[in-house]
Subunit: 154 residues, 2 copies
DNA sequence: ATGGATGCAAATGATTTGCATGAAG
DNA sequence: CTTCATGCAAATCATTTGCATCCAT
């Protein structure tokens, strides 16, 4: 009888093999970390969550670049200095909203861009994709900043 | 009688002064370059278009960071290694589509995200903005690649 | 005058790369 | 056994920063 970890490992093997890629320990562990985290992760977050501490940062970079090319992950830009990565398979298309103050990330499930993409295809573009991120101040940060302003009034 | 260049210079002075910023030659020239180019530009594109060849790259970086903070320009990510910048004032809100093959950039005037932003505000987020870029293969690149495939068939 | 902007040079830091070794198929 | 992935170290390259000087106000 297989446990969850084994099942997951089988799933990841299938993914790698179906892309004609070798199954290696770092690749499996990176996929597992991405799967258990529900939010886009930076390279160094991924690296520091690895149990296998001898895996080099360069391997993590190479692996995520590979996965991006294979479209196993998508590369996400939150307008800071780090690229972030998120699994594509097993999650439906969605976007994010990032709090400009605390960095909190929520998913935005709705996507209304199908019409725009169709319009672009009518203009001659093919293989149209898009990258969309929202930025704002989350409720908690707004509360904190309001109470700070009150404190400064005395 | 003022010519166009003088008028433009006056416009840029007003912008800088209204943000309590000093009017300097590099700042005026960078604004002018951004205005005459209708597409987002990289730092090094901006720098190489400057007539004043003694302006340092560091100054261009500092100026664009300043303009971004002041929301005079917006910083745009085309998922390559360079940040790009575009004037905000005097152009209405729009997005871009970038050809993944030749890099050609077109404006996408329609924006259908007002509803989504309202939904996010109902969820507690304030000061909501978004970044949206499209990627695809433009008609010309598709034609080239089709004819290349034909050539390879003989 | 004087605080801020610039040029110059050096530092920073994320990302990439060359190469020898080890592991996957 | 042969191709490809990895570890390690060094290189790369966009971007930032320290500092002396210059200039806008």
């Amino acid at each position: 009888m297989q446990n969850n970890a084994d099942l997951e490992k089988e799933e990841f093997k299938v993914i790698l093999l179906s892309h004609n890629q070798r199954v290696t320990a770092p690749r499996l562990e990176i996929l597992s970390i991405l799967k258990s985290n529900k939010k886009p992760m930076t390279i160094s977050q991924i690296h520091s969550e690895m149990k296998d501490k001898k895996t080099d940062l360069a391997t993590v970079y190479r692996t995520l670049n590979l996965f991006t090319d294979l479209r196993i992950v998508s590369e996400i830009d939150f307008k800071d200095e780090f690229k972030r990565y998120e699994l594509i398979f097993d999650r439906h298309h969605h976007h994010h909203i990032v709090c400009r103050s605390c960095g909190r990330v929520d998913n935005v499930e709705a996507c209304v861009l199908g019409e725009l993409e169709k319009m672009l295809q009518r203009k001659g573009y093919t293989e149209v994709t898009h990258s969309l991120e929202f930025f704002g101040i989350c409720e908690e940060c707004r509360r904190v900043s309001v109470s700070q302003n009150l404190n400064n009034q005395n």
